[in-house]
Amino acid sequence: MKINDVILKTVTRIVVFIILTFGVELFLSGHNNPGGGFIGGLVLSSAFVLLYLVNDIETVRKGIPFDFKKIAAIGVFLAVGSGVGSVLFGENFLTQAFGHFDLPIFGVTELSTVVLFEAGVALTVVGVVVTIILTISEDV
């Protein structure tokens, strides 16, 4: 049986981008405001889950040919690695640093290593959530 899901598919095409943008926004705003890697990652992965729901798994896999288990591993590596990085500089484990840089377009911008840690968290969340959803769906 084929379900007529034209509306869902059309809406998804636009909504996915809104969700992804919102996820990135949450991720970035987490630096000084509510938000951060964890919920940013959750929102990002909800976009992926929506894609999987609307299209079938094979189609999405063609478009996003990543192994999400490895994405989770890369995420943990980044998060732990940013902690170990401070050890290499002779600081306490997990010490974060930041500084102000004069970038071409952005002007004077604050860059900090905590973003790397948060990016790791976000990737881990995306990887784990999508892996869980895919694993459940494969069983049925």
Partner: protein, 495 residues
């Protein structure tokens, strides 16, 4: 003060586990990296243990946030002795895994999860923050959930449901206990908790909270609440069972020692008496279980239960000598229980049977294995040149000093039951007419024998060279007995 080295026993296994995920299909690289990483962890742990003897307790404030505000790792002799033993036992068990676990497991992230488990175990030993301990417990438990179900045999799934349910429940209690404690005294740093609890006095409310922690750790350690343990520990493959038997209950025991010597040591009449009664019941129940079953795996699992009761009898006595005995026994038990599980698993692998009455005369086919089992048996019973002896001496001395004669009697009686339960295996399985004809003689792989021999050498070495351990263990017991040493090292007067 730069002490980044003390986070290494957790970070090395964690990083190794992550890297191994990317090497999923390359089994040989996985094995080489696993062994190298284990050696590195052992080396680093030994360095830290020796540094503590010169410089006192080490601590590392994550991100430079000073206690009690930040999360920190604290390495004292007690925790580092356990970290060292964990690292060595895991390294040896990995060698056994190479020849026994099979391609299917190795391709399904078996090694990464072993390392995540070890990272969780070492993290739990090292952390100085109660919530961080909860997190490390979860890292350890999540990995153990994966390891117990991996392979997906029916018995594993049945047992894992029990195992996961009971652990999720106890983790939930743990979390609630932490919330109560934070709500009452407003801190989670263990040294700071100790100070605050001492300041306000351990009233009824705090004692009830401490009993909540007692229940949580009893579930994890298998103190009285061990009903889930024998089933869960006999379901997974040999290596995993050995890893669980050697490490997992010990983490619960460690946590109990920490909490009840550092934080809740004021109302010993309630808490420590409860621990003593539970220890006695655990030893009695474990002994009954060890004698009641004919399945080798069950007998071996019930031996874990008896050991838990024995070690926590030391905590119940709560004297420096008794602590020394308990610490010796912890170290000894991690090594010998791993050995016992390996031998039991190897016997099942060789004969394809698990009931003791179905095996016979194994010593004719596999003399080495038979004698290794004999050594294990003597060591667990506490026969002098082996590692079990010294701990029984100290524990006995501690019991007499504190007048805990009932604990003493039950603890030493349990030793006889351990001996009897293992003698039953020895007499039934190793002696008598051989059942294996020369044709279907399954060859005993070298990769299975070598780890057993290494562990047996360790139990002999600890027994004979116990002099070398004395400074570390007495320092550990002294720190447990005098919480101020720990508090001073962590807070350094800034209370």
């Amino acid at each position: 003060m730069m002490n980044n080295i003390i986070v290494m026993p957790m970070i090395i296994p964690l990083m190794t586990g992550i890297i191994l995920i990317f090497l999923r299909t390359r089994v040989n690289s996985q094995r080489i990296l696993s062994i190298l990483s284990s050696i590195a962890t052992i080396a680093v742990s030994l360095v830290i243990l020796n540094r503590i003897q010169h410089e006192g307790i080490l601590r590392l404030d994550f991100g430079g946030w000073l206690p009690p505000y930040g999360i920190l790792f604290v390495a004292d002799s007690f925790s580092m002795l356990l970290v060292v033993t964990t690292s060595i036992v895991t390294g040896i068990l990995l060698i056994y895994a190479f020849s026994s676990i099979g391609k299917q497991h190795e391709n399904m992230f078996f090694y990464p999860f072993i390392f995540f488990l070890v990272a969780g175990v070492n993290g739990s030993f090292l952390t100085g923050d109660l919530f961080n301990m909860f997190v490390c417990f979860e890292v350890m438990l999540l990995s153990s959930y994966v390891l117990i179900t991996m392979g997906g045999r029916r018995i594993q799934l049945v047992e894992s449901i029990k195992y996961v349910t009971i652990n999720v429940l106890s983790s939930w209690f743990f979390l609630i206990g932490i919330a109560y404690l934070y709500g009452t005294v407003g801190t989670l740093n263990m040294a700071h908790l100790s100070v605050r609890v001492a300041e306000v006095g351990q009233g009824p409310l705090l004692t009830v909270i401490s009993l909540m922690f007692l229940i949580v750790f009893s579930l994890k350690a298998g103190l009285l609440l061990y009903f889930w343990l024998p089933g869960s520990y006999s379901a997974p493959p040999t290596v995993v069972a050995a890893l669980f038997g050697a490490l997992l209950t010990k983490v619960g025991i460690y946590a109990m020692f920490r909490i009840f010597t550092l934080i809740f040591y004021h109302e010993t009449a309630i808490t420590h008496t409860a621990i003593g009664i539970m220890a006695i019941l655990t030893m009695i129940g474990g002994s009954i279980g060890a004698l009641a079953y004919n399945d080798i795996r069950k007998i071996v699992s019930y031996n874990v239960v008896i050991a838990v009761g024995f070690i926590l009898a030391g905590l119940a006595m709560s004297s420096e000598v008794a602590f020394q005995g308990a610490i010796y026994y912890l170290i000894h038990d991690m090594i010998v229980k791993a050995l016992l599980f390996l031998i039991a698993g190897t016997m099942i692998y060789l004969t394809g049977k698990a009931k003791i009455e179905e095996m016979s005369g194994l010593i004719r086919n596999y003399p080495m294995l038979g004698w290794l089992f004999f050594i294990t048996m003597l060591s667990l019973t506490g026969i002098p040149p082996l590692s079990g002896f010294i701990s029984k001496v100290f524990l006995g001395q501690g019991a007499i000093e504190t007048g805990s004669y009932l604990l003493l009697a039950v603890a030493f009686m349990s030793g006889i039951f351990v001996l009897y339960s293992l003698l039953r295996i020895f007499l039934n399985c190793f002696w008598g007419e051989t059942i294996i004809s020369e044709d279907d003689d399954v060859p005993l792989k070298k990769g299975m024998l070598v780890p057993c021999v290494l562990l047996a050498i360790m139990t002999v070495a600890i027994g004979i060279g116990v002099e070398g351990l004395v400074p570390y263990v007495s320092d550990a017991a002294r720190t447990l007995m005098n919480p101020d040493i720990y508090i001073e090292a962590v807070l350094q007067g800034n209370r």
